[in-house]
């Protein structure tokens, strides 16, 4: 069992940790750093409950080995708010009642933040018409459903999640 010293930034805070090289980012966050917001749903990349942001891009914490993130900037659901000021996406989820049991919510929130950034950079999706350009302001429900398709909600709160994400654009 090999161990390694790892230096990374989590939610704006520099962390130096000693990890078993086989540790996933999700286990590092939950078991070693005490950040239990990111959830272990399926542990094989299907449910999205462990979605975190690495350099602003959404990834699945359960499929990423922690040792590959030397020097990286990781943002979890705990790092979205600015002190007591909720992130606009968090505010919108509360306002739209975009959850029931809440287990998928941390992943949904991180995914929505990463997704809005992708749209802002003009990334197309499979439902974007050929040749069309996407923007945050023109984003519709179909685009949101497609772009949030990596986050499952077993309660079926999608009917409120989609409006929440649309509302968070403003």
């Amino acid at each position: 069992m090999a161990r390694m010293s790892l230096d990374l930034t989590v939610n704006g805070e520099r962390r130096k940790v000693d990890v078993d090289t086989r540790t996933t980012v999700l286990d590092l966050l939950r078991e070693q750093l005490g950040l239990t917001g990111s959830k272990k749903g399926c542990d094989h990349g299907q449910c999205g409950a462990c979605t975190v942001l690495v350099a602003g891009r959404r990834v699945l914490g359960c499929l990423v080995l922690a040792v590959t993130l030397e020097g990286a900037e990781v943002t979890t659901v705990e790092g979205l708010a600015d002190g007591d000021d909720l992130h606009p996406v968090q505010r919108a989820f509360l306002d739209a009642d975009a959850f029931q049991c809440g287990y998928c919510t941390p992943g949904q929130l991180c995914s929505a933040v990463g997704m809005l950034r992708e749209v802002g950079e003009g990334w197309p999706s499979v439902v974007t018409p050929p040749g069309a350009t996407v923007s945050v302001s023109s984003l519709g429900p179909d685009e949101v459903r497609e772009r949030m398709s990596g986050n499952l909600c077993r309660c079926g709160a999608y009917v409120n999640i989609v409006p929440a994400v649309l509302a968070a654009r403003r």
Binding site: T21, H44, V59, C62, T68, E146, S149
Partner: protein, 289 residues
């Protein structure tokens, strides 16, 4: 997981690490391999992470060819200049897994995993892609049709790393269609890629999930290639008979099976429908503005 993980920061480091033992395996995005590990189905010895090896990242133009680094992610294939150069690859990439999977999963991983349902493989097959490999004996190339030997079996030898995949930059329409039980997080039932080469006067088709390896359909390609008006880049097919016949010929080139995702009969039918639709789209009149 037993064993340990080594992070390679260059191709040379990766090749060195692979020499450490016969049980060393490469991992890039981890979207296939880590699933097996977390499910306890597979216990790796040494894992060599190549996610951070710069030689494998990105893509570039090389004359009439495009060199796609094996570390190129699906998200990178989906957009920008590369999506304009190889539109079928972009279309295929946009259907892979979920956005989170596409931010991590790589082209090299898709090629080396060599699943019959690998989403980029029908496109690469239609493009006659060539796999670039580095190993203890130096570098070599292997055409994709020889590289993929069977279900999850490839020509990759011990100690070797796929560094890039070369595809031609072609002038002409490209289409990719995929059938699955839902849009996201699905393993395909069938896939069809159609690539038109206006300069070479050929229509090429690649089919996935319908045989142990991705297949071409030479009879279908010759049939439709002879009926295209290459000057106008149009196919005269007012009744749709040509497209339908093309679809039938493509389906005849496959050898699908019954499994928990679908039946052989449905797959054959779906291949015919997708191929007919793809070729119609490839030669349809551009919509007037």
């Amino acid at each position: 997981m037993s064993g340990s993980v080594t992070v390679a920061r260059s191709l040379d480091q990766a090749l060195d690490a692979l020499r450490s033992g016969p049980d060393a395996r490469l991992v890039a995005g981890g979207t296939d391999l880590m699933v097996e590990v977390n499910a306890g189905r597979w216990q790796p010895g040494t894992l060599v992470s190549v996610d951070r090896a710069p030689e494998l990242r990105g893509w570039h133009r090389d004359g009439d060819e495009i060199v796609l680094g094996s570390g190129l992610t699906y998200a990178e294939m989906e957009r920008g200049e590369l999506a304009r150069l190889v539109p079928a690859l972009a279309q295929a990439a946009r259907t892979v897994g979920s956005p989170q999977i596409r931010n991590a999963g790589t082209l090299g991983g898709n090629v080396v995993t060599a699943s019959p349902a690998g989403d980029t493989l029908p496109v690469l097959t239609a493009l006659d892609a060539v796999v670039q490999i580095a190993g203890p004996e130096g570098t070599r190339i292997s055409p994709l049709r020889e590289f993929v030997r069977g279900v999850k079996r490839t020509d990759l030898r011990a100690g070797e790393v796929v560094t890039a995949v070369r595809v031609p930059a072609l002038r002409g329409a490209q289409e990719f269609l995929k059938v699955g039980t839902r849009n996201a997080m699905v393993i395909s039932v069938v896939m069809v890629a159609v690539v038109v080469d206006l300069d070479g006067h050929t229509v090429r088709v690649g089919v996935g999930s319908a045989a142990p390896v991705p297949v071409r359909a030479p009879l279908a390609e010759e049939y439709v290639g002879a009926l295209v008006d290459w000057e106008r880049a149009r196919m005269d097919d007012p009744t749709g008979e040509v497209a339908a016949q093309f679809g039938e010929l493509v389906a005849q080139a496959t050898s699908p099976i019954d499994d928990h995702r679908s039946t052989a009969a449905y797959r054959r039918r779906a291949v015919a429908v997708c191929a007919a639709r793809a070729v119609r789209r490839a030669f349809q009149e551009p919509e007037s503005p």
